[in-house]
């Protein structure tokens, strides 16, 4: 298991150093600095030297690193590092050098609780916040007075939820967020189009509520035999994965999603869908290189969804050759600007209505070069977010909440489809 945990800044200075096992010394951190931080060409998140392996994740301006001396589970180490990042965000909103320095004592306290001898332990934020807080006085009180409640919570079967949650108004918010992945060839053929979905829930519910959740999916998950036909608007999910709180046994037997939610915000499930994806944007590109010193672009964008809906923050990143000296771009909607540092024309459209179309025409002037390799034409990226639209067609059918006190609860559902570097069109 994990022998040591470090956080480094970009200069390679140690911000946090915790050794869990005696098989390492603190000076091992120098090896990481030399091999990874000072190395301009790091080609793997895992580096093994002798029997020592370094696992690192870069986030903002810090490196979060786990070190092992055994044949550790690589998946576990990275999941732990990810979890540490999530917990840090929850405690001090952003994990970077400044926040680590501001909270180093708290981080040590957290580490002591979430990992023991390199074995990750309870890492449920809700439970941790019962007794590890940014205000030491509060932690002190909690530990003194509620210790047995905390220990039962931290080791029990529903370690993610306290039993004494109370709200005056019981509400649950469900956010269905889909990241659309698209790879389209030069010829306009869809090489891949799929959706990574996330269902986030913010549960503000009293007591110990039993929830049942239903979607318009036909779960194609290796069904044995066919279970009769379902309605036509049913969505095929290729796979889904659930938060710790969902009863997987129940899902396996009758495909129902039932759970006792953690208090507050959490990711209830993740899913993938690959069939019948509604692509929210269509792009027609015409890019020519009429001479060695010029590239001409005509990019035509169409919002391919209902005209009642709107897309926000649409950004197209259109690559230009490395030797571009300047670009003249004309657009009907939004603003287009050449960003020399990134070799791109960035076309920003703050708001675009469904079914709307718009066009960019541009000319890039190229510097003369003696030996010019063919321009490799990286794909155009489209970033966007479209509210109340799911590219997979997924809808929430119901969310039922049962609590023994029998209170009424209000539920809200929102949908969002977005892309952030994942919507790529070759040209």
């Amino acid at each position: 298991m994990i022998s040591a945990f470090f956080i480094f800044n970009q200069k390679g200075e140690v911000l946090i150093s915790r050794l869990f096992r005696q098989d390492l010394k603190r000076s091992i951190s120098d090896v990481f600095r030399i091999q990874v931080i000072s190395n301009p060409d790091v080609r793997s998140p895992i580096i093994t030297l002798g029997s020592t392996s370094f696992f690192h994740v870069r986030i903002n301006n810090v490196y979060v690193v786990g070190v092992t001396k055994c044949n550790a589970s690589a998946a576990l180490v990275f999941e732990f590092l990810y979890r540490f990042i999530t917990i840090s965000r929850s405690y001090f909103s952003k994990l970077d050098e400044e926040s680590v320095k501001n909270n180093f004592v708290l981080i040590y306290e957290l580490l002591d609780e979430i990992i023991d001898f390199g074995f990750p332990q309870n890492s449920e934020i809700d439970t941790l916040k019962m007794y590890i807080t940014t205000e030491s006085i509060k932690s002190e009180m909690a530990v003194r007075e509620d210790s047995s409640k905390i220990t039962i919570q931290a080791t029990g079967a529903t370690s993610w939820r306290r039993s004494d949650v109370k709200y005056r108004k019981n509400e649950a918010f469900v956010d269905v967020i889909e990241t659309v992945n698209l790879l389209m060839s030069k010829e306009g053929a869809v090489l891949r189009a799929d959706v990574d979905g996330q269902i986030l829930m913010r549960a503000y519910l009293s007591g110990t509520p039993e929830c049942k959740f239903g979607l318009n999916d036909k779960l194609v998950l290796q069904k044995r035999g066919n279970e009769g036909t379902k309605s036509d608007d049913a969505v095929e999910l290729d796979d889904c994965q659930f938060h710790q709180c969902v009863r997987l046994g129940k899902f396996d037997s009758d495909r129902s999603i039932s759970f006792i939610p953690p208090d507050g915000e959490f990711e209830l499930m993740r899913y993938r869908s690959t069939s019948n994806i509604n692509l929210p944007f269509r792009l027609q590109t015409h890019v020519t290189e009429p001479s060695k010193s010029r590239v001409e672009y005509t990019i035509h964008l169409k919002a391919n969804f209902d005209s009642k809906l709107n897309a926000n923050n649409v950004v197209l990143r259109i690559p230009t050759p490395l030797n571009t000296t300047g670009v003249q771009a004309k657009v009907g909607v939004g603003k287009a600007k050449y960003v020399p540092g990134e070799n791109m024309i960035v076309w920003k459209i703050p708001r675009l209505q469904g079914a709307q179309e718009c066009t960019l025409t541009a000319e890039a002037d190229l510097a003369a070069t003696t030996h010019r390799q063919a321009w490799s034409r990286p794909p155009i990226q489209v970033d966007f977010s479209v509210v109340m639209f799911t590219a997979s067609g997924l809808l929430v059918r119901f969310l039922k909440v049962f609590e023994k006190s029998g209170y009424q609860s209000v539920k809200w559902v929102r949908y969002l489809s977005k892309a952030n570097g994942s919507y790529q069109i070759r040209f």
Partner: protein, 682 residues
């Protein structure tokens, strides 16, 4: 909290004064003490030696403020080892905390003490630890379970654990009603059995069943520990294996990728003991989607997933067989993800999807990263050999790429085209002229040898082959052995085919090889050709121009037995490097698929046991060169792989190891541990 201002280097002496100075009554809520301790912790972090402050920090143990206590404990864990004489002064404080009425404090004390493996501390810990293992609070018990494993890791602790029967107590705790306690016990027992020579964890069906029952209530980490321990259960009947696999397969839907991969590891392990083909197909179908889902995770986990997928699809090709598209590279994937995807794409390509894959590979060949481009080009050549119906398309693509005149693309293409010539004799020789146009860009030994091989092999069809070979021979002495050997053989071929053309060149090269070369292989080969040509020219012709064995990709996978063994490492470092952990980690033990009456015949046939391979199977050597570079240009060694296990030069390409350092700079991106022989001295 803005503690950043405390995160500055200070002198031990000043910090000591600050800590002592904080000792007056006016220090309300010990605020000044806290600040001083925080500065000490910060300096400790920065690597500033704070151990001289030991006595002063131990003094603070008496303050009943949790935050201070935690900092003091952290300090003790860090410096206790360095101050064995003074650490005894802390024992009193520890013991009173071990008996605190607050379970969190009891847990904290046990956790801290067990992290300082010095004889006096270990001795003092015996009684509290025994109590803690039976504590009424689960938090204390779960901490105590790990503490036993901690003790066992140190020399003094190990003796105590054995003498006091702590392992037995852990075993009893497996029946605890609290899932977290059970999970930590399992983790501790697995750890101990991996360290100890005489303690082996063995689970029977009954215990395994109970552990699985606890899975549903465990934290995600606890699930991993329990799932991992199931490898210590050896099914005695097919039914046992089948039932267990079905029960744990629900874990494939868990959000934590380590839970998913560990589940896959156990299911794959259990499949060796199954006979029900239908169920095995069902399980294979269940494993596919979660594996693909790993690709939606962070890049690091994607990488772990991809390296594992590459192993898994070799053993169980039905998983993911229709999924090649999800492995297409995104432009902004990190390089390690791209390279891992490329391998999988090659393996999943079949006649039906080869056009799509080729179009992708061609696209990749125009990207920026040199290694990635090279591997993309190489993959095109491998596909030509794997799928004969696609060879025309592949050749066309390669020629297109060569027209870019990018040096490394051209060289890579020539290397693979040579193999395509071997695979499909008399089909593509018309392109030789195109290849010859690129002679001047060749500067890598592998590409040079490939070109030289082509020149020798087709010396009768290439009009000026004698001149071209002579050009190469001009720098004979400066070339690496690989090129020299190729050149020698090529010149001999030229002589046999067109004796007059090589009349001057042959004696010159033979003389260089036999008289001036330092390399014994080269010398020996030179002498052999020389004698062969002088004693029996007919035999020379038969031998040198003999039919070459056909290259194919029928045995495209690693040996099944090895795969079964490697798959026991699913999700671990061993699965990243495709190596058994004992070969690169000093303390790791080898793991073998255990034999049992339930082991199915297919797995049994390839079974690798600690004493070697079962008699029925012939194992190919683990590090068979991916590309028999030296054997191709030499022609005198007839079979491609010496043991006949695999007749395919690409057969072992699972990790693209080009063993004799063929392509310049290739080694860098094959994931592998470095310097496995010596350990880091830190």
């Amino acid at each position: 909290m803005a503690d950043a201002k405390l995160f500055t280097r200070g002198k031990a002496q000043e910090l000591r004064d600050e800590l002592r100075g904080a000792n007056d009554k006016r220090d309300k809520g010990f605020l000044r003490k806290k600040t001083a301790l925080k500065k000490i912790v910060a300096n400790m972090t920065m690597g500033n030696d704070m151990s001289p402050l030991f006595p002063d920090v131990v003094q603070c143990m008496q303050i009943q403020v949790l935050e201070i206590k935690k900092m003091v404990y952290l300090y003790l864990v860090n410096y206790g080892r360095l101050r064995p004489e003074e650490v005894t002064s802390a024992i009193g404080g520890f013991l009173s905390d071990c008996a605190d009425r607050n379970p969190l404090i009891r847990g904290l004390a046990i956790r801290t003490m067990s992290s300082i493996p010095l004889p006096p501390i270990v001795k003092a810990l015996i009684d509290p630890l025994r109590h803690a293992l039976q504590d009424q609070d689960p938090y204390v018990r779960k901490t105590a379970a790990i503490a036993v494993a901690k003790l066992y890791a140190s020399e003094p602790g190990r003796k105590v654990v054995e003498r006091e029967g702590f392992v037995g107590m852990l075993r009893d705790l497996l029946a605890d009603h609290n899932p977290t306690v059970v999970a930590n016990c399992v983790a501790a027992l697995v750890e101990i059995s991996e360290r100890g020579d005489d303690i082996v964890l063995k689970l029977n069906g009954n215990v395994a069943g109970k552990l699985v029952a606890a899975l549903g209530e465990c934290s995600e980490w606890g699930q991993i520990y329990i799932l991992d321990s199931l490898l210590s259960f050896v099914p005695q009947t097919h039914l046992e294996a089948e039932q267990l696999a079905e029960r744990i397969s629900v874990r494939l839907q868990h959000a934590n990728s380590a839970v998913v991969l560990t589940t896959i590891k156990v299911v794959l392990y259990l499949m060796n003991y199954m006979e029900d083909e239908v169920l095995m197909r069902v399980l294979e179908r269940k494993m596919g989607p979660p594996l693909v889902t790993l690709l939606s995770s962070g890049s690091e986990v994607q990488y772990v997933g991809l390296r594992n997928i590459l192993l898994i699809i070799q053993r169980r090709p039905a998983i993911l067989q229709n999924e090649v598209k999800v492995f297409f590279c995104k432009y902004n994937d990190p390089i390690y993800v791209k390279l891992a995807k490329l391998e999988i794409m090659y393996r999943l390509t079949r006649e039906e999807n080869v056009s799509e894959v080729l179009a992708e590979l061609k696209e990749y060949a125009s990207e920026v990263d040199v290694d990635f481009v090279r591997k993309a080009v190489r993959s095109i050549g491998r596909l030509a050999i794997k799928i004969s119906s696609s060879s025309d398309q592949c050749i066309q693509t390669l020629l297109n790429l060569m027209s870019t005149k990018i040096s490394y693309v051209v060289q890579e293409a020539i290397v693979v085209i040579k193999d395509i010539f071997r695979r499909y004799p008399n089909q593509y020789e018309s392109i030789i002229a195109t290849l010859c146009e690129n002679l001047n860009v060749l500067d890598e030994p592998e590409a040079k040898s490939a070109m030289i091989w082509i020149l020798g092999q087709y010396s009768d069809r290439i009009e000026n082959s004698d001149e071209l070979l002579e050009d190469f021979a001009f720098t004979f002495k400066e070339e690496p052995a690989e090129v020299q050997l190729a050149l020698l053989t090529a010149v001999v071929k030229l002589f046999i085919r067109r004796p007059t053309a090589a009349q001057e060149l042959l004696p010159k090269v033979l003389k260089l090889a036999t008289e001036e070369a330092e390399n014994p292989d080269l010398r020996d080969r030179g002498f052999m050709y020389w004698r062969l040509l002088t004693s029996n020219p007919t035999a020379a012709r038969d031998i040198v121009l003999s039919d070459k064995p056909v290259i194919s990709t029928e045995t495209d996978r690693m040996d099944k037995g090895m795969l079964d063994q490697l798959l026991l490492q699913t999700g671990t470092l061993g699965s990243i490097y495709h190596k058994n952990p004992n070969t690169f980690i000093r303390t790791a033990k080898a793991r073998y698929l255990p034999d049992s009456p339930a082991l199915n015949s297919s797995s049994k046939r390839h079974l690798i046991t600690p004493s070697g391979v079962s008699s029925t199977s012939i194992r190919s050597p683990p590090s068979l060169p991916a590309r028999p570079i030296s054997s191709i240009p030499t022609d005198t060694e007839s079979p491609i792989s010496p043991n006949g296990g695999s007749s395919d030069p690409y057969g072992q390409l699972s990790d693209l190891e080009f063993v004799n350092g063929g392509g310049a700079g290739y080694q860098t991106d094959i994931p592998r541990p470095r310097g496995a022989d010596e350990d880091l001295l830190f």
